[in-house]
Amino acid sequence: MTEEHRAEALVSTQWVENHRNETHLRLVEVDMDREAYDQAHLEGAVGWSWQTDLCDRIRRDIIPEEALDRLLSRSGITNDTTIVIYGDNNNWFACWAYWQLSIYGHRKLRIMDGGRKKWIAEGRPLTKEVPTYPAAHYMTRGPDVRLRAFLPDVMRLMAQSSSSLVDARTLDEFTGRVLAPAGAPETCQRGGHIPGAVSIPWDQNCRQDGSFKSREELARLYESRGVTPDKDVVAYCRIGERSSLTWFVLKELLGYERVRNYDGSWTEWGNLVRAPVERPPR
């Protein structure tokens, strides 16, 4: 894996400011809440909601194929469009969108490094104007199930030394001291973590300005915890969005071949009857 590969997945705020009006490129903002987009966003950016646009609310699933076709079509996106995704929280939900679009085979994908926070801190232009684009034709490919882990996969990998589970939640969630971060609803019955998982909270991937750490720093972070490129790696968190950022780092910035996001995450595992859970003694 080289810096070239990293450069393919990431674009800088300056690059976006220089290229944002190019017709083959579409900016997409995905935040923790839609209010951020409504307050102001990059000129020309469409806003997607992870809670309504990027999921199947009935089945608790990622966006169905036909719904993704419709979403992309109404966003004026074709199979050849380069999609640059950004959002708040150092791109948590931007990575969630990136992961789903990867599953469905969209190849020209980029994350704006640093996301909304860095753009605003640098004083780059924002607008309230919501753009409209002529409907485009989009045909989804996939899904590529190698990028997504389900419960049986995690059950199987948990016991294998050739695999690594990465818990991207806070240390307090990992140890079971809390069931959810402060101010967030508790979505599980028990605290702790999946046996054998290592704790690498999502924010260890990022710098203070919201951008990703260097390739060398990230490689050191994961390899020092035994999460090496030769393993089957599964990342998880509470609902799968923080771990999509971990997935992005491992897959797209470090080039790990076999890395999956377990979007069932602790909301699924922490509610299972008789599922094994590790937590330190109190």
Binding site: N89, A182, G183
Partner: protein, 73 residues
């Protein structure tokens, strides 16, 4: 017309005993403030106001309600 955000600032405070981070910037005549829970950083509220003080005070009040509604100790 697009405008450039100005006066971006962030600082940490304590709300109901929980660490909280305020981020505020000005866009045109309005100040926009968000509050997150620092670790992991989930945004709890976003508000706007005509001054920095007004936006931040409102944000803290609304965040207090969120912390009290959802956090169990």
């Amino acid at each position: 017309m697009p405008e450039r955000p100005e006066d971006y600032q962030e600082r940490q405070v304590s709300i109901e005993g929980h660490p909280a981070r305020l981020r505020t910037f000005r866009l045109g005549s309005l100040f926009y403030t968000s509050v997150d829970n620092v670790d992991p950083g989930g945004v709890l509220v976003r508000v706007e106001g005509s001054t920095r003080e007004e936006a931040e005070q409102r944000a803290i009040q609304e965040a207090r309600r969120e912390f009290l509604a959802y956090t169990h100790r």
